[in-house]
């Protein structure tokens, strides 16, 4: 299995934690942009929920994770998968329904997983992966491993009962789990204030006896710092943390387009968040410190583009599963 370009493999930038964050975010952005660009070709014949605008959260979190730590994700799982080190080719093959996809073409874009790097699973039903992640934490504790589980969830997930059931159990058993809530303000076209009372989502943590932290989800360095504390607590057996990261989805809920013209959110709001682009914010931070020059950035972009071209070419040439295999693996073993 060929894994994607890792931060440590890049030669364009000096090694530094913050430049690593930048590389990983830019890579995810470029992959997602390329998917959006090519989506109309109809080679990726499944829904796509792009992570553009939200890259800082998974990259900041993954920066403090081990390969053996376990991550669960949602329908919007591309960035979580890539940030954890998920195989890019297996992802693109999956989106294109090829046999070499991470699910062999059976899951599509909402089921990305890569057991080799601790990307345990992604599930498309809102909040459904939350108890799975808590169960992973239970297994880690039972097996006396000091790995942790990270549960990515969206703001709408806390409206589901299963979030509260899972948080309650995690707290009672002091499980090594970090809940990372990406609050992007919308559930499809419905705003947060139409769905929840005017209280911080993070307040739900203490309601369950769980420490909560709020962080700027478009500041990768801040996310990394907050995640580092949460993961350290979890490894030390001090129980779960609820991390609320404010961020924003740039494109439509599902698909490659922008949809501000629908009227569910304003162009002005979108522009405000776009000015807070997590990648440009970190680029400014790095260049102010002399860690990122224009030429370094363009070299890095070229390096990623080359990887991306090769990965797309690989996936497009990869074979489809044959129909006679469709009945296989109904049961394990």
């Amino acid at each position: 299995m060929v894994t994607g370009l890792k931060a440590s493999q890049s030669t364009a930038l000096d090694p530094s934690p913050a430049t690593g964050l930048f590389r990983d975010m830019l890579r995810i952005r470029m992959i997602e942009e390329e998917i959006a660009k090519r989506y109309r070709e109809e080679k990726m014949r499944c829904p796509v929920h792009l992570s553009i605008g939200q890259e800082a959260v998974p990259v900041g979190v993954s920066a403090v994770l081990r390969r053996s730590d376990q991550v669960v994700s949602t329908h919007r799982c591309h960035a979580h998968y890539l940030a954890k080190g998920g195989d890019l080719r297996a992802m693109l093959c999956e989106l294109m329904g090829r046999a070499g996809g991470c699910c062999g073409g059976r899951g599509g874009s909402m089921h990305l997983f890569d057991p080799a790097v601790g990307m345990l699973l992604s599930l498309p039903i809102v909040a459904a992966s939350i108890p799975i992640g808590v169960g992973a934490a239970l297994a880690l504790k039972q097996a006396k491993r000091d790995d942790v589980a990270v549960v990515y969830l969206g703001d709408a997930s806390v409206e589901e009962g299963v979030f509260h059931e899972s948080a309650n159990f995690a707290a009672v058993h002091r499980l090594p789990v970090v809940f990372v809530c990406e609050n992007n303000l919308y559930s499809v076209y419905t705003s947060l204030e139409e769905r929840q009372p005017p209280r911080p989502i993070a307040d739900l943590g203490p309601a369950h006896g769980i420490q909560a932290v709020t962080v700027d989800g478009n500041d990768a360095v801040a996310v990394q710092r907050a995640a580092s504390d949460a993961v350290r607590r979890a490894r030390a057996g001090l129980g779960p943390t609820f991390l609320e990261a404010a961020t924003y989805r740039w494109r439509e809920h599902c698909g490659p387009n922008f949809d501000n013209t629908l009227g569910y959110r304003t162009e002005a709001e979108f522009e405000t968040w776009k000015r807070r682009d997590p990648i440009e914010a970190l680029a400014r931070y790095l260049s102010e410190r002399g860690l990122l020059s224009e030429s370094q950035r363009s070299d890095l972009a070229a390096e990623i583009a080359a990887e991306l071209d090769a990965a797309f070419a690989y996936a497009e040439a990869a074979p489809y599963p044959t129909p006679d295999t469709a009945e296989r693996h109904l049961y394990a073993g």
Binding site: G135, L138, N168, L330, Y331, A332
Partner: protein
């Protein structure tokens, strides 16, 4: 030969769970009441004392969440055994069972395993009413990727439960509450009964009765009475609903040409309907008479004994069905029916039949 040991099905379950906990460190139990003083009708009683609260986990009242937690742990190699005291509560967990557990192996192209056993107790009687006495096996059997098991005798309870816990797939293990009282020979050592295919309980040849769970007891009683009027029948215990293997049923129907199916649950859209459809597809030419479906009528379970009296079909309904299919003389049917009614000794329908205590 030492005398066979006779224990109840509830004791067989408890013994199985204790053996599994002892043999495999990755096995753990969870459920509402699993560590309480009564221990799920005695089936988990005292296990927390031997194995501790980390392995016999008294769970919060959160069926869907805890099912997901069990699945997540199973993905990392644990073997959770979850118990619902009533299947009606398990309805809260269908999202996790149907979406996550059932599809896990398939969607990952065989890379994920979910070695999860979910015990669900079904039952009837004592005015439990519409939401405490359902038999919902057809719901689970509809979902590809689940295994669905309904044991009947104590021997089957133990062997099938060991197989369920050893299985790398999600297994829905449906226990009829009234079968917990039934006793029978159960070897003390560990043994497993493969989760495949039905069991031929009686071979008679005049007609084929397919039943499962509690209805097996009614079918055995009917078969005994029918044998006395020279109408011996085949009784088949379906026992493993999924994976569905109708081979034994088809063989029997090819011999008898007559089929009666008995559901523990509702007659419409039930397990029996699937059996009949399969026979119609694959052994239609062997059928000499229209098939008969016996099951619960098309309404929820009423609480009042006055209304429940006619709700549960028993061995007399089976006798009547076979009598008609086999063109038995009226006197023979009357005699067989009188015998099964007498065997029940006037026990009201809302109480377990003491004659069914076995040993079987």
């Amino acid at each position: 030969m030492p005398a066979e040991r006779i224990i109840t099905a509830a004791e067989a379950v408890r013994e199985t769970l204790a053996q599994a906990l002892r043999d495999r460190p990755e096995v753990f139990l969870l459920g509402e009441g699993v560590a309480d003083p009564t221990g799920i009708f005695g089936t988990t009683k005292g296990l927390v004392d031997e194995f501790g609260s980390d392995r016999v986990i008294e769970m919060p009242v959160a069926e869907n969440g805890l099912t997901g937690i069990a699945i997540g742990s199973a993905l990392l190699g644990r073997r959770p055994v979850m118990t619902h005291q009533r299947v009606d509560f398990a309805l809260l967990s269908l999202e996790q069972l149907f979406n996550a557990a059932a599809k896990s192996s398939y969607v990952t192209n065989g890379r994920h395993r979910v070695p999860l056993t979910v015990r669900m107790v079904i039952g009837r009687g004592w005015g439990q009413g519409p939401q405490h006495s359902q038999s919902l096996e057809a719901l689970f059997a509809h979902i590809p990727g689940l295994k669905v098991v309904m044991p009947s005798t104590p021997y089957e309870f133990k062997g099938l439960l060991h197989a369920a816990i050893d299985d790398d797939n999600p297994v829905i293990f449906i226990e009829h509450r009234w079968l917990h009282y039934v006793s029978g020979p159960v070897p003390p050592e560990r043994y497993a009964i493969a989760l495949s295919g039905p069991r031929l309980v009686e071979q008679g040849g005049k007609a084929t009765i397919v039943a499962n769970s509690y209805m097996i007891l009614e079918a055995i009683r009917a078969a005994a009475a029918l044998a006395k009027v020279d109408c011996p029948i085949d009784v088949i215990d379906l026992r493993v609903l999924r994976p569905f293997d109708p081979t034994l049923i088809l063989e029997s129907v090819r011999r008898t040409g007559k089929l009666v199916v008995c559901d523990t649950g509702w007659r419409l859209f039930g397990i029996g309907s699937e059996i009949i459809a399969t026979v119609a597809e694959r052994a239609f030419d062997a059928l000499k008479k229209p098939v008969v479906r016996i099951g619960l009528p098309d309404h929820p379970t009423p609480s009042s004994l006055a209304l429940a009296e006619t709700y549960y079909p028993g061995s007399s309904a089976i006798v009547d069905a076979v009598g008609k299919l086999c063109d038995l003389p009226v006197a023979a049917v009357d005699a067989a029916r009188a015998e099964v009614i007498a065997a029940r000794r006037g026990i009201p329908i809302d109480k377990p039949d003491p004659a069914f205590k076995g040993p079987f």
